[in-house]
Every structure is written in C-alpha cells, then in structure tokens.
C-alpha cells in the first residue's frame, strides 16, 4: 500500500531555525551565517569584521568546526564572546547546534552574531540555522569557475565576499567574468571584493553590514 507523505525533509531543521530566529529577533541580534570552502578566509573575514565594527556594535561569534578550537582561540583574542561547536565529523552546522550554542551566548549584550560554518561549499547551503544573512566567502585562488560548480551555494546566499584580491596579479582569475556569472546565478546578491591581508575593501563591506544591523534594530545611535 502506498501512502502519500509530501513532507519536506528539512522541515524539522527549519522549525528549530525559526525558533532560533525568534530568540535572536527578541534580543535584536543580527545573525550572519558565514560559509566558504576550507581556506577561503572565513576566520580572517570574521577577524577583520570584528576590528572594523567593534567600536560601533557589540559582537559575538560562534565557531563551527569538525574538530579543534583553534579558530575560537584566535577570535577570543579580539575580546569578544566566542562559543565553539565541534561537529565531530558532520560537514555543516544545523539549527539544533546553534540552539545549544545560543544558550551559552550573552544575547542581551550582543548586536551582531557572526557564525562561522564548517568549511564546505555543498552541505551548509541546505541547512538554515536562523540567520538574518547568508554570506559566502569566495577567494581568488579557488578560481572563477566555482559559481556554476556549486550553484546551490551561490544561489542561496545573500552576500558574496570575494577575498584575497591582493593575489589577482599572480592568479588567473577573471573578476568581470566571475561577477557576471554570480549575478546570473543570483540576481539579488550583494558582492564585495576584499583582501583580509591588506585590508582593501573591508570598509565598504563593514559599512554595508553595519547599515543592515541598524535597519534591524531601528537604532541610528549604533
């Protein structure tokens, strides 16, 4: 006998994600889910974003890694609260892990929560975690052909930060071609070009992010 089910497999995750979002909204915390392949510069973007904005907004960080607390230790040196999640082999963060991490985060004292996902261009794209913004860090050495190879990720995100633009003179990477492809795959995406090494382009990204936080909190004093 066949029974019709028609249920979204990610429904349970999405329900927890919605609860996370509710909790974050209640505390007026703007949450950013930062995704990228390993080595694209997620932690460097987190560090640069903290440095650019920590005088204006209060920041907290959740670090997702398969193992180790190296990133959390690095970020903690910036003087912001950090919670490390070790997924123990899982290749992405899920909403329930964020739910647990939020219990250990001083939400009342935070305006901006940066969540660094596990390094992977495939799986994190599928799992909402309750974020306001999905950000993908792409990087010049990865090559300009990645958008069509990982369409779900490039299509799902709200923002793409192209990192390591200081390497453009040394690497074959067509910025115009990349931009055209990205805009084709994701019409509404915001694109920023930065170098975490030289600091180039960090200000426009930080300024834009700051404006988004102010919009959410409806607070121009920030």
């Amino acid at each position: 006998m066949e029974i019709k089910v028609l249920k979204d497999i990610l429904g349970a995750n999405d329900q927890i994600a919605a609860k996370n979002r509710e909790l974050l909204d209640g505390h007026k915390v703007f949450a950013v889910n930062i995704m990228a392949s390993p080595g694209a510069g997620k932690t460097s973007v987190v560090l640069q974003t903290i440095r650019a904005l920590k005088d204006k907004v209060k920041i907290g960080v959740i670090e997702g890694d398969i193992a180790s607390s190296i990133d959390a230790e690095t970020v903690a040196k910036e003087g912001v609260p950090v919670v490390q999640i070790n997924t123990g082999g899982e290749c992405h963060l899920e909403a329930f892990q964020i739910q647990n991490a939020l219990n250990n985060m001083p939400l009342a004292d935070i305006d901006l929560l940066l969540i660094e996902n596990v390094g992977n261009l495939v799986c994190p794209a599928e799992f909402s975690i309750g974020e306001d913004l999905k950000v993908l860090i792409a990087s010049v050495p990865e090559g300009d052909d990645k958008p069509y190879k990982y369409p779900l990720m490039f299509n799902t995100v709200d923002v793409i930060v192209l990192n390591k633009i200081d390497l453009l003179p040394y690497v074959k990477f067509n910025v115009d071609g990349f931009t055209k492809t990205v805009k084709n795959i994701n019409t509404k995406v915001e694109l920023f070009k930065v170098s975490c090494t030289t600091g180039e382009g960090i200000q426009p990204w930080a300024k834009w992010l700051h404006a988004q936080i102010r919009l959410l909190k409806k607070d121009v004093s920030l």
């Binding site: 089910v5 028609l6 249920k7 497999i9 495939v122 084709n184």
Partner: protein, 113 residues
C-alpha cells in the same frame, strides 16, 4: 556527508507516518530530490540500511525522483531548465532569473505492508 543528516531526518518523517498509518513494515521510500542538492542515492541507501536496523523500515529501499533545476526569466517569464554552465534564458537570452526548482528534498510517499 550531508546524506547522514538528510537520511536521519527523512527516516523520522517515514517512521512517524508509518506509525500513524498502523503499518507493520515499510518496504519503500519514494523521495523527490532536487538536482542542485547533490544528494547521492547510494549514500542515502547506505545510511538507511544502518539506521533502520531494529525498526519497521529495516530493508526498505529508497527510490529517487530527481527534480530538474528550473528558473523563470525576469524579462520574458519563460520557465526553463538550467544547464550546467548556462543559466541564461533560451528564449530572450536574458540573464536575470529566479530559480524555481532544483532544491527539493521531499518525502513523496512510502510503501507499507
């Protein structure tokens, strides 16, 4: 690797439905999987075989119906299938599009005894 979480979530839905329907055994699980998700059917079957031991879904087979990636063109409203390296509208060559299909992860139906 995401197949493990996907299979776990899928199995929860399946077992709940089977229980509600007072089924004694689940023999097949029919899924609709979006082309873009990159979910591998062999991998889902592999995890399912492990996860269903000691459940009424032990031995169940997974069947995939792949939903092709599709988009709608902002310029001319044409709905079209996305090709691997070409996401422009085949009718007007417009490149402002919205993806409308290809991300599905759905338990369509189950077959039970």
């Amino acid at each position: 690797m995401h197949e493990l979480s996907i299979t776990q979530s899928m199995l929860e839905i399946v077992l709940k439905q089977a229980e509600q329907s007072h089924a004694k055994k689940v023999t097949q699980i029919n899924l609709i999987i979006g082309e873009m998700t990159g979910i591998v059917s062999d991998s889902v079957q592999f995890y399912l075989d492990i996860l269903t031991k000691e459940t009424i879904a032990a031995g169940a087979r997974v069947s995939f119906t792949i939903a092709p990636s599709k988009a709608i063109c902002h310029n001319c409203n044409q709905v079209f299938e996305l090709k691997e390296f070409d996401w422009t509208c085949p009718r007007c060559r417009g490149n402002i599009i919205d993806v409308t299909a290809g991300k599905e992860l759905i338990v369509d139906s189950i077959e039970v005894e």
